[in-house]
Symmetry: none
């Protein structure tokens, strides 16, 4: 468990020289610079997925990107900064992937089923990175917020849907739409966690079917006449 030994934190009170800081703030000036920054970001994602945050060294990222360690600091303030950038990209990809696309299914049951499949697909694609973000989120509020943002996006859409369905008389009006969506969102999220990160062996179709059943029954969701 030596890995868990924390490396020396950044010396406190020793700011960067004005030069490099300025360059970083200004952002890349050339196309080549932009490309370098993107390469570093990509390399960082791969390294974080592979090694987690604590065991990822700046040297690893630089090597993965094929540049020197010094060059890393031309583009990013710190290891945390590049991790934030990686996590932000993850958030955006997740939110995008959770949006409904394609034609709306005919039945509400199918709508729920599709939303479920979208979530699972999105989760599965990013499972490794989700673990790492979660791990760091425990102790870094800023990262925790990125993680929550994905949840919010999903929960808020669900809550809106429930409200609409209540107005249409498809869903039990006795439920608080917000609380219900929070609770059901937790269910889907945590189930994926156990399944895709923890490696508990579920049959995919059976699991999806159970999730969808629980969801629709919990809402007393009716097909419109």
């Amino acid at each position: 468990m030596a890995d868990l030994m924390r490396p020396a934190p950044a010396p406190v009170g020793v700011g960067p020289g004005p030069d490099q800081q300025l360059r970083r703030d200004a952002g890349p000036q050339t196309d080549r610079g932009h490309a370098r920054k993107a390469e570093l970001l990509d390399a960082a994602r791969r390294v974080f997925e592979r090694q987690g945050f604590l065991d990822a060294r700046v040297a690893d990222i630089a090597e993965e990107a094929g540049v020197s360690q010094g060059t890393f600091y031309t583009y990013f303030d710190s290891k945390e900064a590049i991790f934030r950038a990686v996590a932000t990209e993850l958030r955006d990809r997740m939110i995008e992937a959770l949006k409904p696309h394609g034609p709306r299914p005919a039945t509400v049951h199918e709508q729920v089923d599709q939303a479920m499949r979208r979530f699972v697909a999105a989760y599965r694609a990013e499972a490794r990175l989700i673990v790492v973000v979660a791990q760091l989120g425990q102790s870094t509020p800023e990262i925790a917020e990125l993680r929550l943002a994905v949840r919010e996006a999903f929960v808020a859409r669900t809550a809106r849907g429930i409200r609409v369905q209540q107005a249409q008389g498809l869903v039990d009006p006795g439920l608080d739409p917000w609380l219900a969506s929070e609770v059901l969102g937790s269910m889907v999220d945590a189930t994926c966690w156990v399944w895709l990160n923890l490696g508990k062996d579920f049959d995919e179709e059976a699991l999806l079917s159970t999730l969808t059943q629980v969801w629709t029954r919990a809402l007393h969701l009716q097909e419109p006449r």
Copy 2:
């Protein structure tokens, strides 16, 4: 060169490893020793709750227990070892707290409600430590298993309950009891996480009510006639 010419035969000085190990394995021999070990365990729990695993230094634990660092190693192999002990105690407390006790409620609705309240109470009492264990579990399989054990205890009890209720005709026989309990367990668990660890502000009674509603509706749980 005299000795340049005199390498060792079978290298002398390659002896057995640590010997404090022996004493540690043997365990305390006196009452005083047992008391010290318990004090250290308690101190460690407080320190881990306060500072997390990585930021907790062995020196902090020793100081919190009012002993020297050397004494720490009289009773525990390492920081990781005492953490395992703390996490094991947590697991046992949690499993105990989740067991039903007191008279069985008259209605199934009340049974579910009580189970929910038990879970929330148990979670709340240990929320700080749960975070820390979770964080370390990401990278330490042994700790991960301790976490899993609590989940399994809860899910298995739930699954048994559902099976019984199905036999009594109280619950929709079309549900897989195991999958349903996994999914509902995830729901309760993750909801507590968002609420008690991430600090999302829920009204307790409203939340409990929603959880209970979703649970009973998902199962089509009927009061027995």
Copy 3:
């Protein structure tokens, strides 16, 4: 329990080991780097001569070289590694110094006398370091082999010489050249040890004369007619 229920899949955060290793293995890339490495090696030799291996701290070596402790690890894996480098250099210097150079003396007696003086001079120049290497060699086979290499070089050369002299009829053919050279090598070696390391007070010329006498008589070494 939320996370108590979420053990990691394939534990995240178990990455590859040290990465400074890479730089160290690659060796210095610039002239400045090469110079630094040489300075450290020199500083280490001085510190080891002064303090021995156990009492030499990495901090001492870094300070002697005028660099930070971190810089030490830019060039060497460990205290042991730099010691191996120092001992290897010692071996090479010794082997070089023991080689005959200059014109071959006219008489065999003078040849033996010169070999003896070469050995003593080489030993005296490195006496301090020889002690330290010997001490560590007791428990470190790799170091022991470095010591052996010097002995072998000397003994092998002696054995060859004896064989040649036997062929020329200068030396008693009844002696085993290899055993004789081992035994005589031990004699010269251990005598220097007692004299130059243990501090026994011998008169140099008398000692050299005795060594040479014993050597030539033992071999029944004759001047060629």
Copy 4:
């Protein structure tokens, strides 16, 4: 090479309580006490032979003797103190073993041969401990002296012998008896080292024969007419 990491030295300026010190100075008061001390000494010898000085822990010695660590300090001041006692015993055993015993052989050649065999036998019996004493002697003058004492005993006897033989006309009068015995003593000593400690594979009889030959020829040792 972690074994080479030096343990914490004894705290400076913290003397023992007067009580224990007094008891130690007084020596054992009872037969049982004397037996305990002897057991500890024996246990220490075994442990030092097995593990060397640095890797031998006081706890190991106490355990080998079947007493508690505290009891160790009832009889010995320190780890070094008991090592000195062990080394002193070794010295006495060696000196005793080197003394000629039994009838004096008829020929001087046989005399030399027997002395050689005595030395080898004595050395072989104590080879392990000799290594450890040598190792510590590098840095501890008091131990070095114990080691030298054995050498002196052997060398002095040899020198006396040479002087006698010179008076009898058996040995070349041109040799300095003292220097010659030093040099020849080094030869025998170092040869045993290489053979019995370093593990170099010599044929015993061939080696003894070579040693004896070199010895007698070096002295021009004649059989008396």
